[in-house]
């Protein structure tokens, strides 16, 4: 279903020393440094799998998600999702995926949530019947009935995130990418979001790839974990595999992860 081979993504980052002198120098000759966000990344994901994608900040998690969702073009390597190369057939590809960026909003700021949903219905060309069915199911599962008519700007973060997730599932995609969906949420909202994702996966067999820094997300949701650091895939296995690597199975998960980061020197 998702097949990734030898993927590499390089960013050009401009660098300069602090101070007037170097700022002046920078005017005439600009120093760029190539940063390899992803190097030789290969993995595959089967239909209906839930994969947790973890690693420290700047490890390349979001870049991977953006490549898989057709936004970025990698420098090297291939990736085939549902028989398509995302960045080559972007429009066809994105019809079949849903994406949530926890740190951004896809909802229209000043109008009620339901208007954003209607717009998405037109964008994805969802038929009325399918739209009504999806909407009803999502409203029930995410308890949105009371907030649908509220403008986005007046929603709490937890309410908004539930709406964001609903928005990315209206067209019933077979793959869902979640980039830090629980960031900044309180305990109740976190549990609601986790619960929903789990159910969605069970009922619709939606393939889910999720990035997070919250190890409890991983524990609650995913059976498979991919650890990435400095753009390289370091580990691909279960939570128990992860614990074995550091040999401290009785520690809490965050400590296990920290020990792992230390071991691979990626922190």
């Amino acid at each position: 279903m998702i097949q990734v081979e030898n993927l590499s993504k390089i960013y050009k980052v401009s660098r300069r020393e602090a101070g007037m002198k170097s700022a002046w120098k920078n005017l005439f000759s600009r120093q760029y440094e190539e940063v390899k966000a992803i190097q030789n990344l290969s993995f595959s994901v089967k239909k209906g799998e839930m994969v947790g994608y973890i690693g420290p900040n700047g490890a390349g998690k979001s870049s991977t998600i953006k490549i898989l969702s057709g936004i970025l073009t990698p420098e090297e390597g291939t990736c085939i999702i549902n028989g398509r190369i995302p960045w080559k057939e972007r429009k066809a590809h994105v019809k079949d995926i849903g994406v949530v960026f926890g740190q951004r909003s896809q909802l229209w700021w000043d109008v009620p949530v339901i208007d954003s949903f209607e717009l998405l219905k037109d964008i994805y060309q969802i038929s009325k019947e399918q739209y009504n069915n999806s909407l009803e199911e999502l409203v029930n599962c995410l308890s949105l009935s009371t907030i649908l008519k509220t403008p986005t700007r007046q929603l709490s973060l937890g309410q908004r995130m539930r709406c964001e997730i609903a928005a990315s599932l209206l067209h019933n995609p077979s793959i869902l990418f979640l980039d830090e969906p629980t960031i900044g949420l309180d305990a109740v909202s976190k549990l609601a979001v986790r619960d929903f994702i789990k159910k969605r996966n069970e009922v619709h067999k939606t393939t889910v790839i999720l990035t997070t820094h919250d190890m409890q997300d991983i524990e609650a949701l995913t059976s498979r974990i991919m650890l990435i650091g400095r753009g390289r895939l370091l580990l691909d296995g279960t939570l128990d595999n992860l614990k074995e690597q550091v040999g401290q199975s009785n520690n809490n998960l965050d400590e296990v992860l920290a020990a792992l980061y230390k071991k691979y020197k990626i922190q």
Partner: protein, 281 residues
């Protein structure tokens, strides 16, 4: 009971999703009634002052002027009435913002062309602004005394050319701003581009002084630039300044620029998406 199968237009024609963007922008624009009223007052005052200034020149100057006072009045009133259709200095803030802060990521994971989406958005907001502003300005301008009033002095053929040319001018203006929007993907900061593009378009497009008032040699060059294919042509057709064989020539020039700018914009879109770098993590 008769069974009627409802065809969901939206599913049959992919174009309808872009019409949705147009509709949203159009309807949003219509909500700002007080802004429109303020716009009408400003444009009317501005047009009047401009005409008074020109009249002072006409009365004191001894030379021959390239446009009669009546022609000039028609030009100025159309310019004020349809300002929002052709103003290059008006930019869609949310397009720049989405590029600058990386929210464009969400737009890129939709099954739409961002070029076409932004193009229809721009058309929508420009047309809705113009609809509210043009009627009162044109109406008032018709009742002004000679030679300040707006009079129709052209035949049927010219009217048809005028309407065609108005449409083309809007397409040229929007396609031109689309090129600037697309270039923003490469420059990260848009302000420099905005200012340069807007100043060039204003001055060389006949927004400050109509192009016939420029030196003749310069005019020959200006007529070849995209800026002359914006408001300059339709307004001069209406005022009777462009006629005969020049009608065909000017409209052909406009069509050429629509095609060139569209292709350039689409090309830049393609390049931008290949090397895009979503800012802000």
């Amino acid at each position: 009971m008769k069974y009627q199968e409802k065809i969901d237009l939206n599913v049959v024609f992919p174009i309808t999703k872009y019409i949705t963007f147009f509709k949203i922008r159009f309807l949003t624009g219509l909500q700002y009634r007080s802004a429109a009223l303020a716009g009408v007052v400003t444009q009317f005052a501005w047009g009047f002052l401009e005409l008074l200034m020109f009249q002072a020149f006409y009365e004191s100057g001894s030379g021959v002027f390239p446009m009669g006072m009546e022609q000039l009045a028609a030009y100025v009133w159309l310019q004020q009435a349809f300002l929002s259709l052709y103003m290059i200095w008006y930019w869609e803030g949310d397009i720049f913002n989405s590029i600058r802060n990386g929210d464009v990521a969400y737009e890129l994971c939709r099954p739409i062309s961002i070029y076409t989406m932004w193009f229809t958005k721009c058309m929508g907001s420009r047309i809705s602004k113009a609809v509210l502003r043009c009627v009162p300005i044109l109406f008032l301008a018709c009742f002004l005394p000679y030679p300040f009033g707006l009079k129709v002095n052209i035949g049927k053929v010219e009217i048809i050319f005028f309407i065609l040319s108005m449409t083309l001018a809007l397409l040229v203006s929007v396609a031109f701003s689309m090129v600037i929007y697309m270039l923003t993907f490469f420059t990260t900061n848009q302000q420099g581009l905005q200012i340069v593009a807007a100043s060039l378009a204003e001055f060389f497009g006949g927004a400050v002084i109509p192009i016939p008032f420029f030196p003749e040699k310069l005019q020959k060059v200006l007529n070849l630039l995209p800026f002359a294919s914006m408001q300059n042509i339709p307004f001069r057709i209406f005022s009777g300044n462009i006629r005969g064989v020049f009608l065909y020539e000017s409209v052909a020039m406009q069509i050429t620029w629509v095609v060139i700018l569209l292709l350039l914009g689409k090309y830049l879109e393609k390049k931008a998406l290949q090397k895009i770098c979503v800012l802000g993590g």
